[in-house]
Each structure stands twice: as structure tokens, then as C-alpha cells.
């Protein structure tokens, strides 16, 4: 061994070292590409399964079960969904209304609250920060909250109940607050000297400067509203107010739910409804907008995670 080294001298040694490095790099790349590829496939396959199941002929599903590649291609489920779209359109309408109103309102209130809490000259900033933060540590549990909403605020079966309980989130306030405290204080100071009021400073100066944080947190809030089914599960029983995700939940639940939903959309009771493929088609229709928008908005979420990582 030592003889070889002496023979080849310095150059040989270096190239051997380089060779060794090549091998461990290569091995790591091999592990990296294969493991990540497998995981990526596992993340995407369920979606492909849903798509292909929604495009399968119902009879073949009953015969062979769901398959990754449909044994007989059919658009029946989609054509049925779009032939009787009344209920689906209502659900879309509810979800869009809730998402738009909730996101604008929630974002504005989050920003306004955060602005006050990060103002160093605000006398009670610590007390109020604690007032908000404490709610993440301790809660009264589901029952008092539920009773508050249905008995004392009387919000059962209203559009408001789908928006109001999710309007503010302490975590978003903390992230927004930490972003805003990176805006130089001199801006607020000089505007105050010019005689601007606090609210005007917030609207005209701070809001435009907070655009990156507003975009990120706005998307988190919007996603929360779009995906919400929990408030509907607890508080909505009329079909007119069912948001999309809850409507999907109902359809998945049982054949009766599915049949009722189609009938209330105008389908004939005796009709032969392709239940299984319809469930899958409905899943695609409910997720579609997110899947389409996802590649474009994804980076804002990554940004948000990095701003708020561990602690805002």
C-alpha cells in the first residue's frame, strides 16, 4: 500500500482522493434522486388515481374496482355533474363568497392589529400581545365555543358563521407583526411629524410596504377558507349554504347523500347514477381551482414558511 503511494507520488494520491470523492457524491446523488423520486410519485399518484377513477366507466369500476388506468374511458360522471349543476354552482358560490370576504376582511384586520402591536410607542403592547397569545395556550374547548355561536350569537345557518370564526388567527398576527417591525420606524415617525394620523399612516404607508407579507398571509387565509368544511359541519344544515368542501363531504358520505344532492339539482329520482365515478369527479371539481392555481402560488407559501419558521 505504502509502496504504491511512494511509486505514484503526489499526483497519484490526489487523483485517488478525487476518485473517492466522486464515488461518495455519486452514491449520494443516486440515493437522493431515487428516494425523492419515489416520494414525489407517492405524492402525486393519489391525485392521478382520482382523475382516472373519475374518467372510468361505472360498470367497469363495479366489476374491477378503481384502477390507475381506466379499463373503459367514460365522461358520464362529468356530464352528469354539469347537466345538473344547480347544487354544485351554489356550493361554488358559497365557497367563493366566503373566501373573498373572509380573506379581505381577515387580512385587513390581521394587518391593522399587527401594526398596532408592533408600534414601540404603544403603551399597552405587551399586555395586548399577551391577551391574544394566551388564546393559543388555553381554550374553553369545543362546547362553550359552539354554544356561543349557536345560542348566544345565533349564527346557525348563516353565511356569517362560515366567515366570522376564522377571521383572525394569532399565528398570522405574530408573523405579520414580525414582518412589520422590520419596516424602519422612521417612516412612522416622520409621517407623524407631518401630522398624519395613526390610521392614515397604517393605510397609506405601512400597507403598501407590507405587500410581500400581505400576499403570503392572504394566501394562507384564502386556502383556509377554501378548504374549510368544519364550520359547515357544525353550523350549516341548509343545502343553500353548503360550501364546496362540505358538499363533497356529504356526497362522499353515502349513496343517499349523493342521490339527494343530484335530485335537488334536478336529476330524476329513478335515474341510474354512476355513484363511484361521480364521487371521484366531484372530488376533482372541488379541488380543481387549487390544483390549477397551485404551481403559481406555491412560492408564496414557501416564503411564508421561511418568514414564520419556528417563531415569527
Amino acid at each position: 500500500m505504502s509502496a504504491t503511494v511512494t511509486n505514484y507520488g503526489k499526483t497519484g494520491n490526489t487523483s485517488k482522493g478525487a476518485g473517492k470523492k466522486q464515488i461518495d457524491r455519486l452514491l449520494l446523488s443516486l440515493i437522493g434522486y431515487s428516494v425523492i423520486s419515489i416520494l414525489a410519485i407517492l405524492c402525486i399518484i393519489p391525485f392521478l388515481l382520482i382523475v382516472s377513477s373519475s374518467l372510468s366507466e361505472e360498470g367497469k369500476i363495479i366489476e374491477n374496482g378503481f384502477q390507475l388506468i381506466p379499463s373503459m374511458f367514460s365522461l358520464e360522471a362529468y356530464s352528469l355533474l354539469f347537466k345538473y349543476p344547480a347544487q354544485l354552482l351554489k356550493a361554488y358560490g358559497v365557497t367563493i363568497a366566503v373566501t373573498v370576504i373572509g380573506t379581505i376582511g381577515g387580512l385587513f384586520l390581521t394587518a391593522m392589529t399587527s401594526y398596532v402591536l408592533q408600534r414601540k410607542d404603544f403603551k399597552w403592547r405587551n399586555q395586548f400581545s399577551f391577551f391574544f397569545f394566551f388564546t393559543t395556550l388555553f381554550s374553553g374547548g369545543l362546547v362553550p365555543w359552539y354554544l356561543m355561536i349557536i345560542k348566544y350569537l345565533d349564527l346557525k345557518n348563516t353565511l356569517i358563521v362560515l366567515i366570522l370564526p376564522m377571521l383572525l388567527n394569532v399565528f398570522y398576527i405574530i408573523v405579520m407583526k414580525s414582518f412589520m417591525s422590520s419596516i424602519p420606524e422612521a417612516i412612522t415617525e416622520s409621517a407623524k411629524i407631518d401630522g398624519a394620523g395613526d390610521f392614515r399612516i397604517f393605510i397609506q404607508l405601512i400597507m403598501p410596504l407590507s405587500k410581500p407579507a400581505l400576499a403570503t398571509i392572504g394566501l394562507f387565509i384564502a386556502l383556509g377558507y377554501w378548504n374549510d368544511w368544519y364550520n359547515a359541519l357544525l353550523f350549516i344544515s341548509t343545502e343553500n349554504l353548503m360550501p364546496l368542501q362540505y358538499y363533497l363531504y356529504k356526497m362522499l358520505g353515502n349513496m343517499d347523500g349523493m342521490r339527494r344532492a343530484m335530485v335537488s339539482s334536478g336529476a330524476v329520482v329513478t335515474m341510474n347514477i354512476p355513484t363511484e365515478s361521480l364521487k371521484m369527479a366531484m372530488t376533482i371539481v372541488a379541488t380543481g381551482p387549487i390544483l390549477l392555481a397551485y404551481p403559481f402560488i406555491q412560492r408564496y407559501f414557501v416564503q411564508g414558511l421561511t418568514i414564520g419558521a419556528v417563531k415569527g
Partner: protein, 306 residues
């Protein structure tokens, strides 16, 4: 005009206080008043009397909750699931973050990161639909595959033993993108000089990963894990409810405190029992989070919650 003291301050900062009012009202209505409603756990609820007018019944609700054996079962399930989620999710996320950072090219990283993040964006209802597609006895994909190989179909929705594995996998699947991006951000923050020094010392990539990258992640890992431990008695309702629903056959291995509280309230209408279980969870959760925060504070003061 020249008032001083408390009211002077209030007057001077009235605009800021006004701007804070909506949020304060919000948390009073949806957090603090319900917190006071916790007394319901010690009452025999009737709808007319409401939270504050219903008669007291001492510890009856708790006695019922504990003596039925439900308390122990749901507490155990909640804690064990969360421990499994913490371990599996963090190990997987760290491994993926390291591989994304060290082992793969830029475009591959970008594309796969987008794909891995996808499950984070869909609602638990859609995850429920996916589960249905995979696990349904008659038409599920898994049974289609088994059938193609001539193997007997398996009845997943009626077999509690499968569910701990399924739920751990689903949780890992949904959180992988989110968590690995978070760890990736922490890895990107590691001082590159350390890497160069290791390279000069002749360390191979694996030595570098295990001796530099991983130890540098310890602070992030410890803090994230401790905070997660603080929430160990809070179950992910969305996940359990959409995966299992009201399938009583599976409760022995899938019922967590949150689903129990929900069912007692909405299905069996035992409001006192539900409130007692909720109270129990809140107190337990509060104690654990204080402990976890104490641990974080000992470890690194800057990252403590308070």
C-alpha cells in the same frame, strides 16, 4: 387637554386603541367568553339555562367520562398518535430536506419540491376521498390490485389494526412538503465555511452530512419537537374525522380526544360529558405546553414562546 396618567394615555393613543378594538372583540367573543364557559363541565346542561343558567352537578360529568374507560382510551390514542407523527414526520422531513439540498440538481429540486408540497394544499375532505378510493372494500384500488394478483380482498374499514399505520402514513404524506421546506430553510442558513473546512479536511459527503449538517439542525429540531410535544394532547380533528368518520368499529384504535368531544356534542348529545372531556383536554394541554415551553426556555431562551 393636558390630562396625564392612565386616561391621558388612553386619549393620546385612542386611534391605536380603536384600531385594536375589532381584534379584541373577536377574541373576547370566540376565546375568552368560551373560556369562562368551561364551568359547563361541572353542570347538567339544559338549552334554556345555557352556559351560566344550567344547574351544577359537581363532578358527575367527569366521573362518567373516566369510569366509562373512554378517558384513558382517547388520551392514550391522542398521545401515541402524536408521538408517532412527531418522530416519523420529523425524520422524514429532515432526510428529504438534506437530500434536496445536498444530493439533487436545481431543477429537480424545484419540481419535486412543488410536487411534495401538493398534499399540504388539499382539504382533509379530499384526503378522505383519496382514502375511500384506496381502501374501499368493493371498489378500492388496493383491493383491485390484490384481485389482479388473485389475492383475497382486505376489509380495511372494518379492521382497527391497520389504522395506526394508515394514519401515520397519511400524516407523513400531508406534512412532508411543508416540513421539509422548513428544514430546507434551516439548512440553507448553515455557514458554508464549515463545509469548506470539512472538505479540506478530506471528509466525504456522508461524514459532512452527519457531522456538520445534522448537528447544525439540532437547535431547529429540538425547538420544533418540543413545541410539537406541547401539543401532544391536541388531536388533528380534520384528519381523524375524515379518515375514520363515525365508523365505530375503528374507534378502539382511532378515537382521539377531539373526535370524542365532537361526537359527544353532536351525535350522542351528551353536552356535559363533551364539556368535561374538553375541559380535561384544555387543562392537560395547557400544562404540557407550559412544560414544553419551560424546556425550550432552558435550551434556548430566544426561541421560547413566552
Amino acid at each position: 387637554m393636558n390630562r396625564s396618567g392612565f386616561w391621558g394615555d388612553v386619549l393620546k393613543q385612542r386611534m391605536l386603541l380603536l384600531m385594536l378594538t375589532p381584534a379584541v372583540l373577536f377574541f373576547l367573543l370566540f376565546a375568552y367568553v368560551p373560556m369562562a364557559g368551561i364551568v359547563l363541565a361541572f353542570k347538567q346542561f339544559n338549552y334554556g339555562g345555557g352556559i351560566f343558567g344550567s344547574p351544577w352537578n359537581g363532578l358527575d360529568n367527569f366521573r362518567f367520562f373516566f369510569e366509562s374507560g373512554n378517558a384513558w382510551m382517547v388520551t392514550k390514542n391522542t398521545a401515541l398518535y402524536n408521538i408517532a407523527f412527531i418522530v416519523v414526520n420529523n425524520v422524514l422531513q429532515i432526510a428529504v430536506a438534506i437530500l434536496l439540498f445536498e444530493a439533487v440538481g436545481k431543477w429537480f429540486r424545484k419540481i419535486t419540491q412543488t410536487v411534495l408540497f401538493l398534499p399540504y394544499f388539499i382539504s382533509w375532505v379530499v384526503v378522505g376521498a383519496i382514502a375511500y378510493n384506496l381502501f374501499n372494500y368493493d371498489v378500492g384500488t388496493i383491493n383491485s390490485i390484490l384481485n389482479a394478483f388473485g389475492i383475497e380482498p382486505i376489509d380495511i374499514y372494518n379492521t382497527p389494526a391497520y389504522w395506526p399505520f394508515i394514519l401515520v402514513l397519511v400524516s407523513a404524506w400531508k406534512a412532508l412538503g411543508y416540513g421539509s421546506v422548513m428544514y430546507l430553510a434551516a439548512i440553507t442558513g448553515i455557514d458554508t465555511e464549515m463545509y469548506e473546512a470539512a472538505e479540506i479536511d478530506g471528509a466525504n459527503v456522508f461524514q459532512r452530512i452527519f457531522h456538520i449538517t445534522v448537528p447544525n439542525l439540532y437547535p431547529t429540531i429540538i425547538i420544533l419537537v418540543l413545541l410539537a410535544i406541547g401539543n401532544i394532547f391536541r388531536g388533528d380533528f380534520g384528519m381523524f374525522y375524515n379518515m375514520v368518520g363515525n365508523n365505530g368499529l375503528l374507534f378502539s384504535s382511532t378515537d382521539v380526544i377531539d373526535t370524542f368531544v365532537f361526537r359527544s356534542l353532536t351525535t350522542s348529545n351528551e353536552i356535559g360529558l363533551s364539556a368535561a372531556a374538553g375541559f380535561y383536554q384544555s387543562v392537560l394541554g395547557f400544562a404540557t405546553i407550559l412544560l414544553a415551553n419551560y424546556a425550550v426556555r432552558k435550551y434556548d431562551k430566544d426561541h421560547a414562546l413566552f
